[in-house]
C-alpha cells in the first residue's frame, strides 16, 4: 500500500509537470497566433457569439443563433436585399401574382445544385413546402415547424396547394389574398433543403443540413463551434473565405477578450459598457446593425388608471427617453415615437412624439383625477434583450422619471419564461417588452402587437389595446396587394395608435457588432441575420 501512495504521487507529479511543460512550450508566441492556426492560403472567418444553435434545420428553429448559420447554408425562393427588407430574386428568378391575389407563380433558377450534388428543380420546392405545411407528411418530423404556422396561419394554413407546373415553374394557390406572402417567403425558415438529405437523415436532418447556399456544412461540436466551408458550385456570388466558423462563447467579456487576442474576427452581443473600449481600439471597427426592433412600456388598459387616455399620455410625457438611451444603450439606439422601426416602409415620420414635459404630465394626471399621482407596478425582464440591453437599469430610470410626476412604481421581475407568461396573461400594470421583426413587413409589428385580435390571453398585445377602427385598417392592409396603398394604411394606423397611446414607445436599438479592421464587405441586415459570402479578410 505504501508503494501505491508513492506511485500515485509520482504519477500525478509527472502528469502535472508534463502538462506545464507542454503548455509552456508555446510561451512567448505573439498573441495573434493563439487559438487560430490557419493552414497556408486558407482564409478562415471566425464569428464569436453568445450561444450555440439549437438546430440547423431552418424550418424547425425560431431563434437568431440558428438562423445566423442556416441562412448561409440555405436559400429561399426570394430573399431580402443586402441592406433592406425589400425583396429580390433568389432560387426564383421571377414571379407573378394573379388579379385576385390568390395564385402565385414562381419561375425557378436553372442549373442550381444542392451541396450533396443533386440538382434543384420544381419538385424540390413542392417537397419542401409540403413537408412544412402538412402535419401528416412523412418528413414533417424533427420539430414542430413553428414559423410555418406562425407566418401562414396554421398547417397548411393560408396555402391551399403547391404544384410543379413544369421542371422550373411552381404555382401556389392561396385560400385568400395575403399581402405579406412574398415577404414571408424571404424569411430564413423557408430555405429550400435537399429532399434527398431530408429523406436520408430524417429526424437527424437538423445536424446534417444540406441546402444550396454559399456555404456547406462541415462539422458541429455542440456548445463549441459550427464549421462551414465555401460551396464552389454556388449559383450566386461565391464566398470569399474558405471557411466560416461560428464559435459559442457565452460570456460577453471573454468574447471581447478573444477578439482582443485575435482568435475571432467578428463578434456580436457586445455589452454597452464595452462599446467605448472597442471604439477606442484602432485594431477594431464598430458596425451598427440597422434597427428592426422596438422596445416599449405597455400600459395595461384593462386596469385602472390606465384605462384613461390622459394617464397614458401623462406617462408618455414623464419619461425622458433621450437620457435613458444615452445612459443605458451607450447611445446605440434611436428614441422611438412609433411602434414601427424607421427602417421599415410605411413608417410615419410625420408623427410628433409626446415631449418630455413633467409639469404638463402632472397637469394631465390632475385632470384625470390623480393630482397626487398613484401607486402602480412596473414589470421588467431579467435578461438583456436586443431592444433593452440593460432592462433593470432602464426600469430604475423610468421609475425615477415617474416619481417626479408623483407616480410611485414598484419594479417587479421574474425569470424570463415566467415573466413572459405572466405579462402575456395581463398580470402587470406597466410592463417593459419589445419585438424584433420577422419579415420586414409593418403588419408584423402593428397587427401582432396592437390589434384587438391579439389582445386575447396569452396576448401578444400586452397593453390589451382594442380599437375597432384600427382593426379594420390593419385587416384591410393584410388583403391589399399594392404596397403604396398599404403604406398609406399603416401611416393612418400609426396616427390612431399615437392618439390612443397604449404604449410608451421607448427605443429602436441598433445592435453593435465588432470586427477586426481587416474584415471587409460585411453588411449587417435589419433582420439580424445575413449571408456572409461577401465578407473577406484582407
Amino acid at each position: 500500500m505504501k508503494r501505491f501512495t508513492n506511485k500515485l504521487i509520482i504519477v500525478l507529479v509527472m502528469l502535472f509537470a508534463l502538462s506545464v511543460l507542454v503548455a509552456g512550450c508555446g510561451g512567448g508566441a505573439p498573441a495573434e497566433d493563439q487559438g487560430k492556426q490557419e493552414a497556408a492560403n486558407e482564409k478562415v472567418l471566425v464569428w464569436g457569439r453568445g450561444g450555440d444553435s439549437p438546430g440547423l434545420d431552418p424550418a424547425n428553429v425560431t431563434d437568431g443563433e440558428s438562423a445566423k448559420v442556416t441562412i448561409n447554408i440555405f436559400d429561399g425562393l426570394v430573399q431580402y436585399k443586402q441592406d433592406s427588407t425589400e425583396i429580390e430574386p433568389a432560387l426564383a428568378t421571377d414571379w407573378k401574382v394573379s388579379e385576385d391575389g390568390k395564385t402565385w407563380t414562381f419561375y425557378l433558377r436553372q442549373g442550381v445544385k444542392f451541396h450533396d450534388g443533386t440538382d434543384f428543380d420544381a419538385e424540390d420546392v413542392v417537397f419542401n413546402f409540403e413537408r412544412w405545411m402538412y402535419k401528416d407528411h412523412e418528413y414533417h418530423i424533427g420539430g414542430t415547424f413553428d414559423y410555418w404556422g406562425y407566418m401562414f396561419g396554421d398547417y397548411p394554413g393560408v396555402v391551399e396547394s403547391v404544384t410543379a407546373k413544369d421542371k422550373y415553374t411552381v404555382e401556389f394557390k392561396l385560400k385568400k389574398p395575403m399581402a405579406t406572402f412574398l415577404a414571408n417567403l424571404a424569411m430564413f425558415p423557408f430555405g429550400i433543403a435537399s429532399p434527398e438529405a431530408v429523406k436520408e437523415y430524417g429526424e437527424d436532418f437538423f445536424k446534417h443540413p444540406v441546402g444550396t447556399g454559399p456555404f456547406k456544412f462541415v462539422e458541429w461540436v455542440p456548445d463549441d463551434k459550427i464549421v462551414l466551408e465555401k460551396f464552389e458550385d454556388y449559383w450566386g456570388e461565391k464566398a470569399k473565405v474558405d471557411k466560416l466558423v461560428f464559435r459559442s462563447i457565452p460570456d460577453n467579456s471573454t468574447r471581447l477578450m478573444e477578439l482582443q487576442a485575435g482568435t475571432i474576427d467578428i463578434m456580436d452581443g457586445i455589452s454597452p459598457d464595452d462599446v467605448a473600449t472597442i471604439k477606442n481600439d484602432e485594431r477594431f471597427q464598430l458596425i451598427l446593425r440597422p434597427s428592426m426592433n422596438v422596445g416599449y412600456v405597455a400600459m395595461n388598459m384593462e386596469k385602472e388608471p390606465f384605462d384613461d387616455p390622459r394617464v397614458r399620455k401623462a406617462v408618455n410625457m414623464a419619461i425622458n427617453k433621450k437620457e435613458i438611451i444615452d445612459a443605458f444603450f451607450a447611445g446605440l439606439a434611436k428614441p422611438a415615437k412609433n411602434p414601427l422601426p424607421p427602417s421599415l416602409w410605411g413608417y410615419n415620420d410625420a408623427i410628433e412624439d409626446y415631449p418630455y414635459d413633467p409639469p404638463k404630465a402632472k397637469a394631465l394626471l390632475a385632470e384625470a383625477g390623480y393630482p397626487d399621482g398613484f401607486e402602480t407596478t412596473l414589470w421588467t425582464m431579467p435578461v438583456p434583450r436586443p431592444y433593452f440591453p440593460q432592462p433593470q437599469k432602464i426600469a430604475e430610470a423610468i421609475q425615477a422619471n415617474l416619481a417626479e410626476v408623483g407616480i410611485k412604481a414598484e419594479i417587479i421581475t421574474y425569470d424570463w419564461a415566467t415573466y413572459l407568461e405572466k405579462v402575456e396573461n395581463g398580470e402587470h400594470d406597466m410592463a417593459m417588452l419589445g419585438w424584433t421583426g420577422d419579415n420586414g413587413d409593418p403588419d408584423n409589428f402593428l397587427y401582432v402587437l396592437l390589434d384587438k385580435d391579439n389582445a386575447v390571453k396569452p396576448a401578444g398585445n400586452i397593453a390589451f389595446y382594442k380599437n375597432d377602427e384600427l382593426h379594420d385598417i390593419l385587416i384591410e392592409a393584410q388583403q391589399e396587394m399594392d404596397q403604396e396603398v398599404r403604406a398609406q394604411l399603416y401611416k393612418q394606423a400609426q396616427e390612431i395608435i399615437h392618439e390612443d397611446a397604449p404604449w410608451v414607445p421607448m427605443s429602436h436599438s441598433t445592435p453593435p457588432i465588432a470586427a477586426k479592421k481587416n474584415v471587409i464587405g460585411y453588411v449587417p441586415h435589419p433582420t439580424g441575420v445575413e449571408k456572409l459570402n461577401t465578407v473577406d479578410i484582407q
Binding site: 500500500m1 505504501k2 501505491f4 501512495t5 508513492n6 504521487i9 500525478l12 502535472f16 502538462s19 507542454v22 503548455a23 509552456g24 508555446g26 510561451g27 512567448g28 508566441a29 505573439p30 498573441a31 493563439q34 487559438g35 487560430k36 492556426q37 490557419e38 478562415v44 471566425v46 439549437p54 438546430g55 424547425n60 425560431t62 414542430t144 413553428d146 404556422g149 437538423f206 445536424k207 455542440p222 456548445d223 463549441d224 463551434k225 464559435r247 459559442s248 457565452p250 460570456d251 471573454t254 477578450m257 478573444e258 482582443q260 487576442a261 482568435t263 425569470d415 424570463w416 419564461a417 415566467t418 413572459l420 407568461e421 417588452l433 419585438w435 424584433t436 390571453k457 396569452p458 401578444g460
Partner: protein, 334 residues
C-alpha cells in the same frame, strides 16, 4: 469486497428513484412554460397549447412521471424540447469535456494542494505555512468568474501565452474517439493537437482547481499535523529513518484517508459540471448545458441530465469507498 460492491450498487436504485422524483418535481413546479421560454415574445396561444399537448404537459404530474420513468427504464431519456435531439446524445457530446476539465483540475488541485499541505505540516508556523495557508484561504473564497476573467486577461490577452477560451484552436484537426481531446490526441498520436488541447485546458483547470486545491491543502495540513504528533512517527525518527521516509511513508500514508475523502467528494462534485468555469472559458461541458436547459425549461434534459449526473456522483463515491481499503488495509468491507 465483491459482496460489498454489489450491495452498494443495489443501493443506487432507491437513490436514483429519489433523485428522479425530486428532479421531476422541481422542474415542473417552478413556473414558466417551455413553449414561452423557447419562442419568447413570439409564442402564440396556439403554439403553447400545441406544445403542451405534444409534451403531455396537461396530464397529472404522476402520469407524466410514470411515463418518464417507463421510458428511462428502456434506456430512452427522451429528446430535448429545444433541439429535438436525444438527451443521451447531447450528454455524450458534452460529458467528455467535463471529465477532461475535472480530471485536469483535480490533478492540479491534488499535486499543489497536497504539496502545500505537507510542507506546511512539516514546518508548521513557518513562513511557508503562513503563506500557503493564507493563499488557501484566498483560494477557497475567490469567485471563479473573477479569477477566470483575470487569468484570460493576463495570459490570453496581455501576455498572449495561452488561448483565451475554447477547447481546440480553429484549424487544428483532431480525429475524435472518446471526445476527451487530450486522450484522443494521445491515441491518434497527434502531438500538435495534444499541445493545443493542453494549452486550452490549463487556465480553466487552474481556475476550477483553486477551491479543491485550497481545501485539500488545509485538510492535508491538519491531518498530517495530527499524525506527526503520534508515537509511531517519533519511533520512526528514533530509529534513525531519514526524514523523507518518515514523512512520506509513515506520516502521509496514515494522514491520507481524510484527504482522500475530500478529493473524492470534490471530484464527484466537479463532474456534475462547473457552470461558472464552463461559462467563462466557453468550455462545452454539461454545467453550461444543464444551466441553459433549466432556464429554457427543457424538461427532458433537466430530468435526464440530473439523473445521469446523480449516477456518476454515486459511482465516484463508491470508487472512493473502495479506494479506502487500499489506502488503509485495516478498513474492510464484509
Amino acid at each position: 469486497m465483491l459482496n460489498y460492491i454489489l450491495r452498494r450498487l443495489l443501493m443506487i436504485i432507491p437513490v436514483l428513484i429519489g433523485v428522479s422524483i425530486l428532479a421531476f418535481l422541481l422542474i415542473h413546479l417552478i413556473p414558466g412554460n417551455p413553449a414561452v421560454a423557447m419562442l419568447g415574445e413570439r409564442a402564440t396561444p396556439e403554439q403553447i397549447a400545441r406544445l403542451e399537448e405534444e409534451l403531455g404537459l396537461n396530464d397529472p404530474l404522476y402520469v407524466q412521471y410514470g411515463r418518464f420513468m417507463a421510458r428511462v427504464l428502456q434506456g430512452d431519456f427522451g429528446r430535448s424540447i429545444h433541439t429535438h435531439s436525444p438527451v443521451l446524445w447531447e450528454m455524450s457530446m458534452r460529458f467528455p469535456a467535463t471529465i477532461e476539465l475535472t480530471v485536469a483540475a483535480m490533478i492540479i488541485a491534488v499535486v499543489i494542494g497536497m504539496g502545500a499541505g505537507i510542507i506546511s505540516a512539516v514546518k508548521p508556523y513557518s513562513i511557508f505555512d503562513y503563506s500557503f495557508m493564507g493563499s488557501a484561504l484566498i483560494g477557497v473564497s475567490m469567485p471563479i468568474f473573477w479569477l477566470g476573467l483575470m487569468l484570460i486577461y493576463l495570459f490570453g490577452v496581455k501576455l498572449g501565452w495561452l488561448p483565451p477560451s475554447g477547447r481546440l484552436s480553429i484549424g487544428v484537426e483532431l480525429e475524435t474517439v472518446t471526445n476527451i481531446y487530450v486522450l484522443d490526441a494521445i491515441i491518434t498520436g497527434n502531438w500538435v493537437a495534444l499541445k493545443d488541447a493542453l494549452r486550452h485546458l490549463f487556465m480553466p483547470a487552474l481556475a476550477l482547481g483553486t477551491i479543491p486545491m485550497a481545501m485539500i491543502a488545509r485538510m492535508t495540513r491538519s491531518s498530517m499535523l495530527e499524525v506527526m504528533r503520534q508515537d509511531f512517527v517519533r519511533t520512526a525518527r528514533a530509529k534513525g529513518l531519514p526524514e523523507k521516509i518518515v514523512i512520506f511513508k509513515h506520516a502521509l500514508q496514515n494522514a491520507f484517508l481524510p484527504v482522500l475523502t475530500v478529493i473524492g467528494l470534490q471530484f464527484g462534485y466537479l463532474l456534475g459540471g462547473a457552470v461558472m468555469t464552463e461559462w467563462i472559458f466557453a468550455w462545452p461541458g454539461i454545467g453550461r448545458w444543464m444551466f441553459l436547459a433549466i432556464s429554457s425549461r427543457d424538461f427532458p434534459i433537466v430530468q435526464g441530465g440530473i439523473l445521469l449526473i446523480a449516477m456518476v456522483f454515486v459511482f465516484v463515491n463508491l470508487l472512493v469507498d473502495v479506494l479506502y481499503s487500499y489506502v488503509d488495509p485495516r478498513i474492510r468491507y464484509d
